[in-house]
Amino acid sequence: MSIEDTPHAEGRPTREISVTVNGEEVTREVEPRLKLSDFLRNECDLRGVRVGCEHGVCGACTVSLDGDTVKSCLLYAVQAEDLAVETVEGLAEDGQLHPIQEAFHEEHALQCGFCTSGFVMATKSLLEENPDPERDEIKEGLADNICRCTGYQNIYRAVDRAADKLSDDIEAVRTGADGEEGA
């Protein structure tokens, strides 16, 4: 149920905020105590934002906020005012899985899947910073996310595969752009 329909008692404070969510501007009247994770799940109907602990340990709620990887359960929605949020829902284009999503599927890097959007978002930010991470760097980069099912082995592989895939894509774009020279 959305907060808008909530029969607020007299005097409960609210504030209007605008947030850009996966490229679209969303304006809502919210309570200042509303967590960003709940805002995204309930107001924006983005189920990919999962809540596993609400105290910043599990990483299931990981999203990108103006390019920074954050745990949305540790922020209030009002703190995202005028900022841009990206969630896992924003990754697939035209029904095509993003190379990271594809890699998770190929490598069986998810079981129950509750952690998966968080891991996909964390992987995205890891690969943006370091397109070709070593195993230790992967472990370091994903240490803020917990998966209870996979034992991480296939997640490491998925990150490797996604890194390869993304660098191939970049290569393809580069050679495509420099077509003449490449030939």
Partner: protein, 816 residues
């Protein structure tokens, strides 16, 4: 050795005519919706007009509840409803689940018995408001001394349940063979005390429920992420006081992990359903993480073992004596299974004939236990392997050699252990040898982690390395009525015959859709194991279709027969058997339909590759055409795959009497290489070698995924995870994920996995269950590797988790 790469990927929809999908790493059907954020977990279910519930919980471990003042909450305009124990007792029943003689209500009745025990519920428009209302409920307590330690509770004058007159809710001593004789005759008797800390599955998704009440039918529709929804539905419909067919439990296709733990979330289902009935509106409850860790009825075994092993000078194991106390917390939930399942692997991989097994199941002021991956087998394997290590040392025999001398040999299989269970297939000594070879080749050589020079050098720097192999059996596929048998009196059990045994088969339905694809219905719920994919790939083979031609859906608790479902690694075995059976049935039904249509004998037609053909002609009918012809639902079939022990007379005796029957014995030989920093006590697992046998691998990718996850949980239990309690106040010490530590990428080493395959002669497809592997075998393996590493210092991992703090303590004691 490198871990076997999943075989060349097959997308579920790939064109692979004429090839078998069984045994291939078919990519999962379940993934796409999860990866794109389209999956619907229970947290995402919110029907129109839905209200939310919050719970008022006890802040004391043990206290009389003098008064629950709800007036401030009730007077508040945002409050929709408050329920207290009086409201429950007026209209509903206690919740069944546990031993007779303990009457548990969904809210505390007169006395709080653990911190976090629900005392009242409030309902409001959303969770924020509901929590505000919960704060307005005022509970007056009269505190009592708590009983916190399981061993002390046995003698304590403070009782968790006064009416019971004791904190020992159950105890039993069972002897097999002639243990007294064995212990009297043996050259040595080695003793040890080993402790296992309170752990649990802690799935990433907490419990959730959305309850709706229909006044016209006086019935409930309850969406929830309970596990085994067709088996444990009685804990909900009996509490609500309605017949089973008016309380529909529906589990979403996506469940964020369970590992056994979610069988015990009925309390939440009951409370939300009661609130929904009172209000005539849907009511949702999502447990938060603190509630889950503190008082969510989801902790598992907490045991102290005192064990004895009788051996001869030549290293022959003669007798085993197991005694333990299991601290169940405030209520004896699912107690019998938990303490008796280890009987199915009583002597692990060793041939020992004379054994005693004895336990005290005690109650304390802690959260009640539930099931967790392994259901009590993991502590047993740990304690037994610790004892074996201690004995090897006392006999001055190399622990690996000591184990090898006592292993059940391939020519003894199928092998009956003293408690009646039978190990189906395998080669335990061969697996030990192979692991030795792997370690020699990769690690005990120059540059390897166990290169003697490196080990020596690291030791000088204060880092002690070691590894120890052992063969650990995973009992798979429970399924008969042994819980009931265990509670039946001895005389009745004596007079029982084989015909009295209730079996628990697995049910599967399938039908042909108008477009010629096949829709299958599972009677079981899933929580990430890939059941849909498994059924699709097996059915595709049976019907000569592609996995993408098969759709798999779920039945709710009313539609599905009361079966057993997803527990004790049943699914690979039971669902594969059911898939083969239902496929056969559907082929027959289709052939008959075609024969009738053509007006010929059944023998004149045959089913092949998604069509029925009429011999000697070019006539054939596709599945879509057959569906069109079928006006009597003859293309709808269902099949029950019998529990594998049913068909084998070898199991008759164990089935008829009171012991658990787990007819598959998957096993692992592990060699985790550990390093202990003796300065800090920190234990690091540098690499985890494992060699595993689960018989036929139906989908190797999924098999490996299960093992990886199990090993990670095992590592957590061995080194990090524990629900500690303050010994004075009974306050839980691990109520956030900052205190209850789960393994992260930083703790998990690379796992090097190899497989060997000895298909089970007892199951339809040769598969053995593997759902609990890793959790069952990794803690024992890590503990034994620590024993090896610290051998020179005379320290063993005698209490798990072997945290840095505990390790330091042991090391300090050893120095003194």
């Amino acid at each position: 050795m490198s871990e076997s790469e999943p075989q060349t990927g097959h997308e579920a929809g790939d064109e692979l005519e004429g090839r078998s999908f069984t045994g291939q790493s078919v990519r999962r059907f379940e993934d796409r919706r999860i990866l794109t954020g389209e999956a619907e977990y229970i947290h995402d279910v919110t029907p129109p007009g839905c209200l939310e519930m919050a719970i008022v919980r006890s802040v004391h471990a043990h206290a009389n509840i003098v008064d629950v003042d709800t007036s401030a909450a009730e007077d508040h305009p945002d409050c929709e409803l408050v329920l207290t124990i009086e409201d429950l007792q007026e209209s509903y029943n206690p919740q069944p689940c546990g031993l007779e003689g303990y009457e548990e209500w969904s809210l505390a009745d007169g006395k709080a018995r653990f911190v976090g025990e629900p005392i009242a519920v409030v309902v409001a428009a959303d969770r924020y408001l509901a929590e505000d209302m919960a704060d307005l409920v005022n509970v007056e307590y009269e505190t009592l001394d708590p009983v916190v330690d399981g061993m002390d509770a046995r003698e304590s004058d403070t009782l968790v349940h006064e009416d019971a007159g004791t904190n020992v809710a159950d105890n039993e001593r069972i002897a097999f063979g002639d243990p007294d004789g064995a212990f009297a005759d043996a050259d040595h008797v080695v003793e040890g005390t080993y402790e296992w800390g309170r752990v649990s599955g802690v799935p990433l998704e907490t419990a959730g429920v959305v309850a709706q009440y229909d006044e016209d039918g006086d019935s409930f529709h309850i969406d929830c992420n309970i596990q085994l929804h067709t088996l444990v539905d009685d804990t909900v419909y009996e509490t609500l006081g309605r017949p089973a067919d008016r309380v529909e439990l529906n589990v979403p296709a996506d469940v964020g992990g369970s590992f056994g733990t979610k069988i015990a979330i009925h309390r939440y289902c009951n409370l939300a359903a009661m609130a929904a009935e009172q209000l005539g509106r849907p009511v949702k409850f999502v447990e938060d993480r603190i509630e889950n860790l503190q008082g969510g009825d989801m902790h598992c075994s907490e045991r102290t073992y005192e064990m004895r092993l009788a051996c001869d000078d030549d290293g022959t194991m003669r007798g085993l004596d197991v005694w333990f106390v299991d601290d169940f917390g405030a209520w004896p939930h699912y107690p019998v299974n938990q303490v008796l399942k280890p009987l199915s692997v009583l002597t692990n991989s060793y041939a020992i004939d004379d054994v005693v097994y004895e336990y005290d199941l005690v109650l304390t002021n802690k959260t009640a236990q539930t099931a967790y991956r392994g259901f009590g087998v993991d502590p047993h394997q740990y304690a037994l392997e610790m004892l074996v290590d201690d004995a090897a040392r006392e006999l001055d025999i190399d622990p690996t050699e000591f184990r090898r001398r006592n292993l059940v040999t391939p020519d003894q299989l199928p092998y009956r252990i003293p408690s009646g269970n039978i190990y189906d297939s395998g080669d335990y000594p061969g697996a030990m040898d192979r692991m030795d070879e792997i370690l020699d080749e990769n690690e005990r050589c120059e540059g390897g982690l166990l290169d003697p020079e490196t080990v020596e050098q690291r030791r000088e720097e204060g880092f002690y390395r070691g590894t120890q192999t052992a063969v650990l059996i995973e009992p798979g596929v429970s399924g008969s009525d042994w819980t009931d048998r265990q509670r039946t009196d001895d005389e009745t059990i004596q007079n029982r015959s084989r015909e009295d045994v209730a079996e628990l088969p697995e049910h599967l339905r399938a039908e042909v859709k108008p477009d010629g694809t096949v829709l299958a219905w599972l009677a079981t719920d899933s929580s990430g194991q890939g059941h849909q994919t498994l059924v699709a790939q097996l059915l595709a083979d049976e019907l000569g279709l592609l996995p993408s031609d098969i759709e798999v859906d779920y039945l709710d608790s009313v539609e599905a027969p009361t079966e057993y479902g997803s527990a004790a690694s049943r699914m690979a075995v039971m669902l594969s058997g059911a898939s083969v059976g239902v496929g056969r049935q559907l082929r027959d039904a289709l052939a008959e339909l075609a024969a009738d249509h053509w007006g010929v004998d059944r023998e004149a037609v045959s089913y092949r590759d998604g069509r029925v053909e009429r011999s000697g002609t070019d006539d054939s009918l596709s599945l879509a055409e057959l569906a069109e012809l079928d006006d009597e639902a003859r293309t709808h079939v269902s099949y029950d795959y019998e529990h594998p022990a049913t068909g084998f007379p070898e199991f008759d005796d164990a089935l008829t009497h009171k012991y658990p029957v787990y007819p598959t014995a998957a096993y692992a030989v592990n060699a985790p290489i550990v390093e202990v920093d003796v300065e800090t006590g920190e234990v690091e697992v540098l690499k985890f070698y494992t060699l595993r046998d689960c018989g036929t691998m139906l989908n190797p990718m999924i098999v490996e995924g299960q093992a990886h996850g199990g090993i990670a949980q095992g590592l957590g239990a061995a080194l990090m995870e524990e629900f500690g309690y303050d010994q004075g106040s009974g306050q839980p010490q691990a109520i956030t994920m900052f205190d209850y530590l789960l393994p992260s990428t930083k703790n998990m080493p690379d796992i090097e996995m190899e497989h060997t395959s000895h298909p089970s002669p007892f199951t339809e497809t040769g598969a053995k269950g593997v759902g609990e592997g890793g959790m069952i075998d990794a803690p024992a393996a890590i503990a034994c590797s620590i024993n090896d590493a610290l051998e020179p210092l005379g320290v063993t991992a005698d209490k798990l988790p072997f945290t840095a703090h505990r390790a330091r303590k042991r090391l300090r004691e050893a120095e003194e």
